[in-house]
Subunit: 398 residues, 2 copies
């Protein structure tokens, strides 16, 4: 019997406790291990629950309990999740977490402690909710040199962009609907400004490339400026606008990491990932292109990933060597602005004037609106040529 503790009894934490209960037989049969949730940390009163006697508001009850070998951290936020996780790892307990903020900010340090202590620090649920993507990345694709990752990593923004297209609605209106449905927070900035997606692409890139990439060093652009006409015009040209997290190795083994809304060809699988669903494209030198798709959030889906990590942590004796990256000073991050690419843009210039500046630009028109697509130009160059005139520019995903 493996005794575990759950930190936080919110959406994810309660989901973990309930899933371990609901699918107990299935889990025991498949993993060969029985699990018991011995303690749950939460400041609130849950004494009315059938398992109400297991709650504590004192982390030391868990830390000092030698029987507890695996902790599922589901509190969110950096503090005190960070302090608790660090103490637990140092005490020789494995920690699994759904907390992307924690992993993106403190991953390298916590992984180093886990390695030293020969325990596991796992975080499948921190990216893509229930979608198996972290585990496939570090283990199943272990024989590959991973050179590119691109993904729809935030369900809220994907829902908004999908609805803006299907309902022909504007951003503000769609955000309000998303908030009503519980798909967006009252303060939506973590989602709509791209910070959530940024943490996730940083975790994936750190794991794939072996160096910690800190979110605050990554170019991050959200979806607030996307207008209905951009969706219309992009659609006319055969594209859909998606908020993508993107990470690629460049020729010099540097890393190009960004979060931004991009135009994705409607033929591409990523363009067909709609609503709150997430999808992550991973390219390896041997495997080629792979994609992992599913529900990127939600109580049960996230709990599914947390519990799979609990099982992995319990079944693996010692530290899992695959899950590791070094701390870094981001000296390998490049400025993507110099790279050549294709761009969609709108600008307040007459057709004649625009074509005199950018003769190769291709006009898109629909319902009296106009935009342009231009290829083989760097973002810097485009910005310089259109300084003062640019409304919006979006890179094309390729």
């Amino acid at each position: 019997m493996v005794q575990i503790a759950v930190l936080g009894h919110g959406v994810v934490g309660s989901g973990v406790v309930e899933l371990l209960q609901k699918n107990r037989e299935e889990i025991e049969k498949k993993s060969g291990i029985s699990f018991a949730v011995k303690r749950i940390l939460d400041l609130r009163d849950f004494s009315h629950l059938p398992y109400g006697d297991r709650f504590t508001n004192d982390f030391s009850d868990i830390l000092n309990d030698k029987e507890i070998t695996v902790i599922a951290e589901a509190m969110g936020g950096i503090s005190p999740a960070y302090e608790f996780t660090k103490k637990a790892l140092l005490a020789g307990k494995s920690v699994v977490t759904s907390n992307k903020e924690l992993v993106a900010a403190k991953g390298a340090e916590l992984l180093a402690i886990a390695r030293e202590q020969q325990v596991n620090f796992l975080f499948e649920a921190s990216v893509g909710g229930g979608i198996p993507v972290i585990h496939p990345l570090y283990q199943c694709l272990c024989a590959n040199r991973i050179d590119r990752i691109a993904g729809i990593l935030n369900g809220t923004t994907n829902y908004i962009l999908t609805k803006m297209e299907t309902e022909k609605a504007d951003y503000e209106e769609t955000l309000k609907t998303a908030q009503k449905l519980g798909y967006a927070e009252r303060d939506p900035s973590a989602d709509v400004d791209g910070h959530d997606a940024c943490r996730k692409i940083c975790i994936l890139a750190s794991l794939a490339f072996g160096n910690h990439i800190y979110p605050e060093t990554v170019y991050t652009e959200g979806i607030r400026n996307i207008a209905p006409e951009d969706i219309l015009l992009a659609g006319t040209a055969g594209y859909r606008i998606k908020l993508l997290g993107y990470a690629a190795l460049t020729e010099n083994n540097n890393m190009n990491v960004a979060v931004r809304p991009m135009l994705v060809s409607k033929e591409h699988l990523l363009a067909n990932i709609n609503d709150v669903f997430n999808g992550v494209l991973i390219h390896g030198d041997a495997v080629g292109e792979t994609l992992f798709y599913g529900r990127g959030a939600g109580k049960e889906a996230t709990a599914s990933a947390v519990v799979s990590d609990v099982i992995e942590a319990a079944s693996r004796k010692g530290n899992c060597p695959f899950v590791y990256w070094e701390d870094s000073q981001n000296n390998r991050l490049t400025d993507g602005g110099e790279q050549f690419g294709s761009f969609y843009f709108r600008a307040d210039l007459s057709t004649e004037r625009l074509l005199s500046i950018l003769p190769d630009a291709r006009k898109i028109s629909a319902e009296g609106k106009t935009a342009w697509i231009i290829s083989s130009i760097s973002e810097k160059e485009l910005e310089e040529r259109l300084s003062q005139h640019l409304f919006i520019k979006l890179k094309l995903f390729s």
Copy 2:
């Protein structure tokens, strides 16, 4: 240093040797393990290769070598792969294989031996080439009750169906192109008649549901009868024809398993998996719907999966409990013919006559051709009503 042997130096076997060489550093860094290919079994002469001295044509050289702890079987076919695998497992060596025929025919027996001997029998490469799908299914989704799997599991037929649509070409012509490009065998029946897809859905279903499902007991229909007009008419109605492997738990915990061409809504991700690519949809009670996509075949992609299993086998002390299913007499397989569903069909009946038999059928017309779609009917009922008149019927995927 883990010493391994590779059985068979064909496309997959040589790919495994080369990938272990090419990405040696990456693999060692990630897994913490060094690998050496000590012996390669092949009857042909490869003495000209840089590693030509490691070849043997005598399996006992490998079986009796105590240093060799993991064997990668890449010979294909059942015999002698089966005998060699069994002997190796009984001798306490782990075996990983890309051989779907072997796993679909002998999986339960070989898994039982592996469990007894506390070694591993792993087969990620047997389904979906390099796509991580077996591993995510047994480990990452371990906390789920899996109730449905559906997938495009054969690249050859998916290539043919894609080209029939995009080139408006007929089956025979497209098959010839596929053969020229090396995407189809000279004798294409294993692919086009659905047998390859059948083995793969049997492996996935056995793993998900815990009972060995033998391919010869599964309804299997290929793509030979698909006419260009079916693709046209299905397209007009908003569908694409895909050869799907399908496995679902029914209400009574029975299993409904089949391989057949189905109409998939163009909005659905499976409809957007084209050319030689594969995709597997897995539905679990907690995680909801997930999809795994990538290149379903090819030397390097398949080698990527084999090597990941080699690493898994070497890094796991003892048997991996997740990978297991019981032998069974298929007594849980149901006859899907009684189930209600929606169907596309063509029949040589006038509109009046057809509507007198099936008043709810909906007509589809394009380029002077006609077909019908009908909902809420069992396949048996449809066949009975249209006996003598049916050209083709295809189930709708939902």
